[in-house]
Symmetry: D2
Subunit: 289 residues, 4 copies
């Protein structure tokens, strides 16, 4: 499941469902010398769409990225009307972190990066507050503060976007970034911004979900990691998890228990993205195994 060997490539594709897709793709790959490591496919019968993820070893594979693109297009993609992405896994993804004042997700993500648990680079941290600059410095990551107001959002996001592009960022992670992200950023990074929301969406979307959960008297709280879209807290869900609470838990206790969930659910969502296991279709996320 993990990228045990970075000398692999991953293909993600979907197309109208019809007989013979798996046979055609696997024959194509085998024909160019691919040793397939993972293959997972899914048919959404209600939509009539076929989805597939294949990962294979690059050693012995005859095609470089350009040659693959040309050959796959003419042999498979045009025939099956497939939409596809090819990823070479040797290059670590470059992940930018957005934070505000809460540190728990930031510490968790930086620990996974620094310890080498994740095959990523973290070129920069962006915040709308100075609060967490010392944590960034302790881990040796450049920290950029862009205070946001209703008046300056578009301008500040344009500057953030320029910074992200200059650092060749692949993925932006909102690690409890308590600020609405506008179209300037969202349009520039489609399905490449992951947010953690501190509730079991769609329950308790919006602000103060722990207060709302406490007021409603639920017996379980949750967290949700999802791709960010223009609709607040309504983007395609990657991962969710929950934890049990009781009437004894005050709002403060929910916040404390929820933080552990947020760390875990955000990390799992990012991991699925890093592994190229995710494919978004009609606001839902296929998470291949």
């Amino acid at each position: 499941m993990a990228v045990d060997n970075p000398r692999t490539a991953t293909l993600l594709m979907h197309c109208p469902d019809r007989p013979g897709v798996v046979a055609a793709v696997t024959r194509f790959l085998a024909g160019h010398g691919a040793n397939i490591v993972d293959l997972d496919q899914h048919v959404d019968r209600a939509e009539g769409v076929f989805f597939m993820r294949v990962r294979w070893e690059l050693e012995g594979f005859a095609l470089d990225a350009e040659a693959f693109s040309e050959a796959f297009r003419t042999t498979i993609a045009e025939h099956f009307q497939a939409i596809w992405q090819l990823h070479h896994n040797a290059r670590p993804l470059r992940m930018a972190l957005f934070v505000s004042k809460m540190s728990h997700c930031l510490y968790d993500l930086l620990s996974r990066w620094q310890s080498g648990e994740w095959h990523v680079e973290v070129p920069l941290i962006i915040s709308n507050h100075e609060t967490l600059r010392p944590v960034a410095e302790q881990f040796g990551i450049p920290f950029h503060c862009f205070p946001i107001t209703a008046d300056n959002r578009a301008e500040q996001e344009a500057a953030e976007r320029e910074l992200l592009e200059r650092h060749a960022v692949d993925l932006a992670v909102l690690a409890r970034y308590m600020q609405i992200v506008g179209p300037t950023l969202i349009d520039a990074f489609p399905q490449r911004i992951i947010n953690i929301h501190h509730s079991f969406l769609p329950a308790f979307a919006g602000a103060k979900p722990y207060h709302a959960a406490h007021a409603r008297g639920v017996k379980i709280i949750g967290a949700t990691s999802h791709y960010v879209t223009a609709d607040l807290d309504a983007g395609p869900i990657i991962e969710q998890d929950v934890t049990r609470i009781t009437h004894r838990d005050s709002v403060e206790a929910l916040v404390r228990k929820g933080q552990d969930l947020e760390k875990l659910v955000l990390a799992r969502g990012i991991w699925a993205h890093l592994q190229r296991q995710t494919l978004v279709y009609q606001n839902r996320t296929i998470v291949f195994s």
Copy 2:
């Protein structure tokens, strides 16, 4: 936790929080010869309210129900402005079941009754359809069919209410009863009607929650048992649980997986009520341990 010995009594109470309540109540009980079996208390600091459940053995206890009522009122309740209920656990509760066409919860509840797992009586089953009459007959429980339309609801519910009262029903369980319950019944059985809703409330309240969950692309589905109030699917929650799903699960698969959850969450909610572990305050349910 279970009523291992039915020769016990349970006191549920709440009052404004102030020092000395536990001391006063336990001294009162000890003074009349009670051997306390369970004691659980909770203080809601935000509301300033004290909650307690105490269960004690009746053997050696000096007061019968009437004497307890008089003594407790003058010694404790008036002083602390307590609201309280006393339950003798020897008598099995009388539980009526409301069903429509789906049988999974009905089978589960009847099995728990017939096997003696639960210390209850099931005097009757009420339905708005004939579909499940054979199941009722197989288990030897009288089955009453009241078809409901927009026009006849009040009238039919009045007849149901009369039937429930005639059978001295303590608790009505809506075991996937696909029909809105109106004020005629709700007002007659406050905090004595338990419903199972097939979602993780407050997400996906109302009709067709599995369809809505599938459309939203959630990664976890849930079920909720709650007391029925005038606000649809908004009554005090007793118990919730969840199960993990993936993009592979069609709506039909969610229905199938959800049914197992519904059985479990409804049974746990009823069990807590039977054990007199529940106390409702401001639309939230304290579930004592």
Copy 3:
């Protein structure tokens, strides 16, 4: 995931891992007109073994069972040294139930059968005690009692085996059958006897697992459904699940909470078998999705 359409066939196979298996199998199926509904494959890299499950629609498929067997053998199986099974899903499996005195799993399984939730037949119930005969009769299933002692086991099991074979039983389910099953039965039904063990195996194998769990002070209890082999409680695991407990839970409370787990874990294990999702390799169970 469910057999939404029984007009399908399922192929389960494994073989030494080498390039081209998926391509060969899917090309073979497509070439005979199969529309593939599900395909899941897995490579065990440590063992160097390839596993696959494919399900396709029989409508339009050119081969009957015999023709498939011949064509698949010569085209695929010999070349890849594959071990394989083909199942036509139209025929309901015939499932025998073994019980002793506890009824919770029996009620649950009979309810799933009678309600039509499962596409199975239940030709008979076997027990070593008379206790549950009334439940069998209530559901209209023949009940056979074979009291077992150390002296008569082989003889009684031979009679049971004869009965199972006479009723063309496909699957035997030990639904809290509190009796060791010997080689007479195990050898006759390899990977076709499913047991529920009331612990999280391999913890607390053997007798009285709830007592052992209580004594050890664990904070979580579990249940395990597995195929029965000659090694007691050591066969290939199909499904496990757990539930949280606390120091408040007596052994009796563990038994009560555990029973709900047992019902669920046994039902899920059987479901996976009925769906032909399971494949045993070296005492581990692949459960395809």
Copy 4:
């Protein structure tokens, strides 16, 4: 549940079960001006032992630690033969961390300390390897390396013990410390050493539990935090949790998924200890709510 207000004291006690204990203790506290914040009691009927945890506000409480000790002893403890501990919550506990080469738990614990999530001090880190010295330095915590061999264990542990005592350490945490701890340390810190074991104990005690879990083909893996006793991996369990795995997960995947569990289960175990919610009796841990 959390120590929202450190100006509180916590009493943990147990005694032979007999009527009137709660009444006596709460009357005693109320009589000296205590406002009780939490009270949780438990009766182990099989053992005939009563357990209680009470927490109250120190503001307005008439007794200092010494006066409490004298008054409680004569008024309550002697009469009821109670074993008890009193903790003032204003003082942060001093927690030493033991590590080897794996960093995930270390990062997690240091993050909780540095962010102020936990009301603790971390005076030192002890390791049998140099590997994690840079992490300790990054967080500004003194790091002491004591390589252990079969020959020098007693001597090295004596030095470690001296160091812990010199730093007035209250609690030692084995954060994936891959080294057996001997009697020199265990005897000096009874019920004050917490270990994380990377399995669902008692399954897979000892070395390489993920390899053993993979070989057995379990469908769920777990982690266990427990107090360390002379019996390896057999001390009183504080907290356990599990995560679901499939046949797709290699040993490496189990290790990766397990690490997130280990972090969480160790943190929860420590939190319960810090909150003075734990009381050990006969190798089992009461965890009060």
